[in-house]
Amino acid sequence: MALPLHATTGERVWHYTFLTICVLIFAFLIIPILVILPLSFNAQPYFSFTPEMLSFDPEGYSTRWYEAFFNDSNWQKAVKNSLIIAVFSTIISVSLGTLAALGLSQKEFPFKTTIMGILISPMVVPLIISAAGMFFFYARVNLLGTHIGVILAHAALATPFVVIVVTATLTGFDHSLTRAAANLGSSPSNTFFKITVPLITPGVISGALFAFITSFDEVVVVLFLGSVHQRTIPWAMFSGIREEISPTILAVATLLITFSIILLFTVELLRRRGERLRGITPH
């Protein structure tokens, strides 16, 4: 990307124009997220900067929206619901998804493309259609407005991510390792737990993070299947934006951004670790 020494004036101009364009696009990507952080400390109930904030007057800033969030029992209940639903749907989707990925990665697997297509379908079907279908089905089996209903629905939506991530980990899997273990007299179950499991663990964990965030961030299905007792954080934000716009939403958003930064770094670390374990050098 660096400009060569012999570049002509025209090339130089284009090079700097291009870099400026890129900076502007990066700004478009990141500014909306960064702008939330200071706004969530606004002392006034506005969604914009007050003159006090711009002159860095400490009076213009406050943590009142964070206090509002931590003192509001509805928000606390939403946090609890989000965590319960996300944890259980992650457990279901990771166990089912990892088993399926192990099966799908066998060379001998019949009708692989068709079955893979069916297993991935929850990721492809527009959410509103999934939500509508599940709404009528769960009404019929009396699971509307229950935690179990929402957990099962989220598990179905999250499994494709687990299948994809774990299958990708297994594609780079060196099968001669298991053969070598068998050759040295290890039983299949011993080989599985001593060789396969440690190698695919990073993949499974990042699949689990994808599943967790899918459920944690999901709002359409929860709106259709849940009752007030299943109110999650995204649901509370959705109705908060629609009804009474309060900067508490921005405080919640800031907390969620912090949370996603942690997730992002965890996934990245796991990916590098996985590549190192499998002997693929990062490029």
Binding site: I36, E108, P122, A132
Partner: protein
Amino acid sequence: MASNTEALKTADGISLKVSLQRSLRRKKRNALLLVAPLFLFILVTFLFPIFDMLIRGVDNKITQEILPTTVVALAKWDPASGQLPDEDIFKAFTVDGQVAAKAKTISRLGKRLNYEKSGFSSLFRKTGRQLKKFDPEKMTTSYKENLISIDKKWGKVETGSLIHRESGRYTKSYYLTAFDLTQNSEGNIEWKDADSSIYIDLFKRTLWLSCLITFLTILFGYPIAYLLATLKAKTSNLLMILVLLPFWTSLLVRTSAWIALLQKEGVINDTLVAIGIIGDESRLSMIHNSTGTLIAMTHILLPFMILPLFSVMKTINPSYVRAARSMGATGFTAFRRVYFPNTIAGIGAGGILVFILSIGFYITPALVGGVDGTMISNFIAYHISTSLNWGLAAALGAILLSLVLVLYILYDKLVGIDNMKLG
């Protein structure tokens, strides 16, 4: 030779060929057993419910359930004759109607037929109220005249012909409505008049917005992917965070960020007023309209374009462009003739992905779309939870789903779902 192959046997004395086949079968069976639980789970909790919902788009058993004898009697009547149905059909309707009125189900059928022609809901409610009190012993006129005396509409051929048309087990009427079509009393299909047609415009708007969003993500995503693919690994990894952070941030967080930025009293308008570009009274309305949807969705879907483009550009050997340059191509020609053609697969993959995601979007248009920024999904949600016209919701859903599936197949042909990567 034949005797040689026979000689190959395992320790148990079984021929090697049979033994290998057996082991292969066992492996296949084990692999299938591993996949089976998830397969069944998806089938029961996902695919079956969707299929079941889509059936509602053609299902019409309500008429047969509520008017069982009328439906049988009506089958003999030809609405094209222009004659009112016979007395026995009116009698059948009176009997069915009395049962339904007592079971309080008659208004449900009225509501169903009201989707076809307004006025039916009140007609059935009124008729139901009268039929509940009706005693055939005390009747002095014919069944036909009795019904006509309840409401004059029963004396019209159109009323009978609509029930006749919608008396089958299945109906095409929801799909006709979804395409702004209607059936006239002769049963011919025709376009609705301009002011009552909504859905064709809605489909056009959804497709147009999705195309525009896809185009904008290509326009913005291409330079970024190019920069990331050609920079040194260390810098590019660092800049990648700027792409991945929005990708991992909650959809609602990003949507509320855009509300804070775009609204009338928001950051952008405040800044423009402070600088003096626009006056305080002429603040731009960038939200609760299609502009809001467009900006917010482009932002939300941009990472889905950058990531596949980046992974394709990463595989392009930089010596191709150097070779073109060394043979005298200008920078632009080398890009146009050598680099760009190599990235078309990435544009296709990212483009289809963004398009698929955007035509099914619900949350963001619902929050920032206002009236002219709403999409098909928002109407499906409206018909399910507000108007309760589930048949129409199912028909609209089926059309949306088939659009997505066609694109999905295209994506599979182009990229292969096995090669889908995340993060």
